[in-house]
């Protein structure tokens, strides 16, 4: 191997910058998981409801977001939505809109995937539960809230967490909208110091350690 690795570009100052970037990545991940699960649950319930328009909307939404790449969704929201918001709300162009557009894009995108997981979870709960709760006089919404959804979530926790890991990895794609998350900053530091390769491997190693540990945790919760 004729390439000499030189990791001296990773100074404490660089680590601080990278740490801030990691905070942004984690912020996006957490927000997208939270909103994604909430909106995904609503979509799943819409898909399972008896109202045809709601079914069509939810099915169309999920199929749309599952058939286009995340890169396209991010570009949509990065290039088009800020213009839209500026025209509608008469805002001025600012950096905040980039983060907001990324958060909105990720939340809407992940909701489609979460809704599929949650729909499978709802359908995995025994039908007798639904019948019993109706027999006890609970309304549909009460049944969902108190009986079905808690059980569905308990069944789906490993899949929800795995999707969360995938989401964390996908936050690196905000690179295309020039939002400086962990990977974006690692690449910038590498470019600045001429040490792209070392920083790429460093970023890969950090992602590997985080995702691998969380997936081990998920496997352990499945076993117990």
């Amino acid at each position: 191997m004729s390439y000499q690795f030189d990791f001296s570009a990773i100074t404490p100052a660089a680590v601080q910058v990278l740490g801030h970037g990691m905070l942004i990545s984690l912020q996006i991940t957490a927000t997208a998981i939270a909103f994604g699960i909430v909106w995904g649950t609503l979509l799943a319930m819409m898909r399972l409801s008896s109202s045809k328009p709601l079914q069509w909307f939810a099915t169309g939404y999920v199929n749309l977001f599952r058939s286009i790449p995340l890169v396209m969704v991010l570009l949509w929201f990065f290039l088009i939505v800020p213009q839209l918001l500026q025209k509608v709300f008469k805002l001025s162009a600012s950096n905040d809109l980039r983060m907001t557009s990324a958060l909105v894009a990720f939340s809407l995108f992940e909701a489609a995937y979460y809704s599929e997981i949650i729909r499978a979870g709802i359908k995995s709960v025994a039908r007798g539960q639904l019948a019993a709760s109706f027999a006890l006089g609970l309304t549909y919404l009460q049944t969902m809230r108190l009986i079905i959804l808690p059980q569905a979530f308990r069944n789906m926790v490993p899949l929800l967490l795995t999707q969360g890991i995938i989401l964390f990895q996908d936050t690196s794609l905000v690179y295309v909208s020039a939002l400086a998350d962990f990977f974006g900053r690692a690449y910038t530091i590498g470019e600045r110091d001429g040490r792209i390769i070392e920083l790429l491997f460093f970023a890969g190693a950090v992602y590997f350690v985080i995702c691998f540990s969380i997936s081990l945790l998920v496997k352990r919760t499945v076993k117990s």
């Binding site: 839209l84 996908d170 794609l173 390769i197 790429l200 992602y207 691998f212």
Partner: protein, 244 residues
């Protein structure tokens, strides 16, 4: 909203004597070529790894498990950057120089194809493994009792059934390859997503450009799903999974 819709912009002349529709089609052709070639790599390598993962030999099984964990826990964007920027530098025996002497398009396409192929192979490995494990253990034992070697058991007994079982998840992996090919736009490959960005820049009609690209991705989606549904119908065995 004072946006002027102009769908005929696609038929206007672009810089290099092509229309904008030609740009879209060239992006689509690169996406299709990238997806199909990466899928071939992923299917071959993934099946091999999936078989290794289920073998009783702990070394082979461990190698496959390490491969899967490595390629599943690093984001695709980081992987493609490593393939594109780092691999030519650290490959030994002049392979790096050989790669760097190719044209830029060939470099981008080859690295994107290898990256997508290796990344998806990890996921195909998991699917093949779950397909083999879904079969009753009696299948393998019966095969061995009939006098097949382990290889023959895999070839004639286990793999045919497990592939039929995992055809639906393999379909979604196939679709994922086409979606993940959009990440190759970050290394400069002018596939569909990158052409979409170009169209936005050059035509100043962002809505038309993005709607066209979105519809094209959905078209790819529908085509692949129809193809796979036909395949599922063709290979379904009466009385088993998936047949009517």
């Amino acid at each position: 909203m004072d946006y002027r819709w102009n769908w005929s912009v696609f038929l206007h002349q672009a810089a290099d004597n092509q229309t904008y529709v030609d740009w879209l089609l060239s992006g689509l052709s690169i996406t299709l070529a990238l997806g199909l070639s990466a899928w071939l790599i992923a299917l071959t390598l993934g099946t091999l790894l999936g078989i290794m993962r289920t073998l009783p030999n702990r070394w082979l099984s461990g190698i496959a498990a390490t491969y899967v964990e490595l390629f599943r826990n690093v984001p695709l964007l980081v992987q493609i950057f490593i393939w594109y920027f780092a691999m030519p530098e650290i490959l030994p025996f002049g392979m790096g120089e050989a790669i760097k002497s190719l044209s830029p398009l060939a470099q981008q396409f080859t690295t994107a194809m290898l990256c997508l192929g290796f990344f998806t192979a990890a996921r195909v490995c998991e699917q093949v493994r779950s397909g083999i494990r879904a079969l009753p253990p009696g299948q393998k034992n019966a095969g061995l009792a009939m006098g097949f070697t382990l290889g023959q058991t895999y070839r004639y007994v286990l793999l045919p059934m497990s592939f039929r079982i995992i055809l639906p998840p393999l379909t979604s992996e196939f679709l994922n390859i086409f979606k993940n090919s959009a990440v190759a736009s970050t290394i400069g490959l002018l596939e569909l997503a990158a052409q979409g960005r170009q169209l936005v820049d050059y035509t100043a009609q962002p809505y038309e450009a993005f709607i066209a690209v979105t519809l094209t991705y959905m078209l790819i989606n529908i085509t692949v799903m129809t193809l796979m549904r036909w395949l599922e119908g063709r290979v379904a065995l009466p009385g088993f999974v998936g047949s009517k």
